[in-house]
Amino acid sequence: MTEAPAPEFVIREYLREHLMPHFLCPGCGHGIALRALLWAVHELGITKDRLAIVSGIGCSGRIGAYVDANTFHVTHGRPLAFATGLKLARPDLEVVVITGDGDCLAIGGNHLIHACRRNLNITCMMLNNEVYGMTGGQVSPTTSNSRYTTTTPLGNFEPTFDACALAEGAGAGFVGREITLQTPALKNLLREGLAYPGFAFIEVISDCTEIYGRKNDLGNSAEMVLSQKAAARPDVYTNSVDRPFRPNQLRTGVLARKDRPEYAAARQRHLQSLGNVE
């Protein structure tokens, strides 16, 4: 007996088509990331009614609205806190947070580390394009060294956050990173994160072509994603060499996967052990 093949992924079935075309600039990697997310959702058989997308402010925050699901566009930096309440109230929902490097690491940094610590079953997709795109291209916590932004007119000298290392250090059960060019790999990573029973943090290396790319002469979106690919070093390679073989390495793939108690399950077990709930 062979099972009937799963229906093919057709992104239009997951979009609010009346809102399309979306508002993103030409070549923005966020669209590719959204496709990968919905593709993973499709493969896992998560229904649109059960899918809840919570997003913050910025370019990343706006893309949730295009998904035909339960979508919540909340305040700047707060989607993880909002999602925490939503997931605790409705464990039956598959809660996905879409956030950006500024939303998640700057204004929302406190919420990120505590979401990692708690390990509530939420999937957080952070789109890292190294810049505040929506507000016109200001420096962000992930802007690379010496890059020009509207608030670093002489080039950026501040150190950057390694978001994945931060999440892992804060205790996230599942941490991964992928570039948009590797769409199937990104889909698989998101799929694994969605299926992970706990807090999954996934950083997507996205490209802001129109603002950041233009200001720094990084080329069109094809050139930007190719340079990301050149910098990416899939984590499967790490065992083959003792030292990084590229100076500008960007570890990709599943970077951490720990067997930690999921928040709601741990809470339930704890209360049961006290005879506090049936």
């Binding site: 566009h73 707060r78 309440g85 939503l86 406190n110 919420h111 580390i113 505590h114």
Partner: protein, 383 residues
């Protein structure tokens, strides 16, 4: 009625009564952050909620607490958070989101001296205007000011009913002193408590729009999973829930947010009038100060002075018409408040030219006493 409903008598602190009122009012999700003098509310909620199948969580900060209760409310639970002035300021950002997206929620602000860290263990009434206008943009909001432990219990229940009925944040303000005041309270039997639940969108309503006002002007709420798959955004949105740039749609949305409570003032407004019928001098005071004012009015009456008290229990929307009716025959009004003068401006704009409005303020961390108010009444009565 031949049978009195069963009540239970308890000696409770104000903050405890607030927590018990929340549980009785149906609160099943609480997110908070420790801050004096409100922490006992969180502590009591932490021990009460698991027993009723609810969820308590102490979040990483005040902002997260506010965001978390909004998430839980959109998930379908009745929600609450509690704080004090500085924490209330941090919540204002997401309170704005609650206003704009019409999320039912209850926020307790146990007022302490300010500004800033100020006087954490002393009472004040400095957040009257923060509660009304603390968040950004035009909006309506409900603010309740209970004056006793029993009233905290009752008003907390009512706060949930109002929040759910009108899809609005409801703020309860009371002073540190009442929060930490112990009084003997008769708690009503649970079956006698009126509980109002929010109006859910019918799962089979294919034409449902998440922000189309219902017959009472209040939009029904979509329950995630019921098939509506709606969008919620802090951006100004049309009836379909999606952001809009159309001037007429923006105006309609903002008009709705500013005026949606007005048709329901009879259900929202609550106030207490003491000896108001023939009063020449009216004291307007809330909460702790109103307790002193009540005593001052009684003393004045004993001295033959026609004094009265108007105590808004619903501070916002301000019960304008009842106060105006009361001030018609009165010649003077004293606005007693433990701040430099916040409520007085609201009273002044409703008092009319014939009525003299005098402020009685105290900003030294001490409560206004009955004798202070009596003295002011006597001065005005003799003028």
């Amino acid at each position: 009625m031949s049978t009195e409903p069963a009540t239970t008598t308890q000696n409770l602190e104000g903050n405890e009564a607030c927590a018990l009122g929340a549980i009785a009012g149906g609160c099943r999700f609480y997110a908070g952050y420790p801050i004096t003098p409100s922490s006992e509310i969180a502590e009591r909620m932490a021990s009460e909620l698991p027993g009723v199948g609810g969820v308590f969580i102490q979040m990483e900060d005040e902002i997260a607490s506010m965001a978390a209760i909004l998430g839980a409310s959109m998930g379908g639970l009745k929600v609450m958070t509690a704080t004090s002035g500085p924490g209330f300021s941090l919540k204002q950002e997401n309170l704005g989101l609650a206003v704009a997206t019409e999320i039912p929620c209850v926020i307790i602000d146990v007022m302490r001296g300010g500004p800033s860290t100020g006087l954490p263990t002393r009472p004040a009434q400095g957040d009257y205007m923060q509660a009304r206008w603390g968040t950004h943009g035009d909006h309506a909001i409900i603010v309740l000011t209970p004056a006793s432990v029993a009233e905290i219990y009752a008003q907390t229940i009512r706060a949930f009913n109002l929040a759910e009925a009108f899809r609005t944040p409801v703020v309860i303000l009371y002073e540190e002193t009442i929060g930490h005041l112990r009084e003997t309270v008769d708690l009503p039997a649970p079956e006698t408590i009126e509980i109002i639940d929010r109006q859910w969108a019918a799962p089979d309503d294919r034409n449902f729009l998440p922000y189309r006002p219902g017959t009472d002007g209040i939009p029904a709420m979509p329950r995630p999973g019921d098939g509506h798959r709606t969008h919620m955004t802090g951006l100004t949105h049309g009836e379909d829930g999606f952001p809009t740039q159309k001037p007429e749609a923006i105006a309609a949305a903002n008009r709705h947010l500013s005026h949606k409570l007005e048709p329901h003032l009879d259900r929202i407004e609550q106030f207490e009038i003491v000896a108001g019928e023939d009063a020449e001098v009216i004291v307007v005071a809330c909460g702790l100060v109103a307790r002193a004012a009540k005593r001052a009015v009684a003393k004045a009456r004993a001295k033959g002075i026609r004094a009265g008290l108007f105590r808004p229990i619903t501070l916002w929307p301000f019960p304008t018409l009842p106060l105006q009716a009361l001030l018609q025959p009165a010649g003077a009004v004293i606005v007693a408040e433990m701040n430099a003068g916040q409520l007085i401006a609201e009273v002044e704009r409703h008092a009319g030219d014939h009525c003299r409005v005098v402020g009685l303020n105290r900003i030294d961390g001490e409560a206004i006493t009955p004798s202070q108010i009596l003295q002011q009444i006597e001065e005005l009565a003799n003028d």
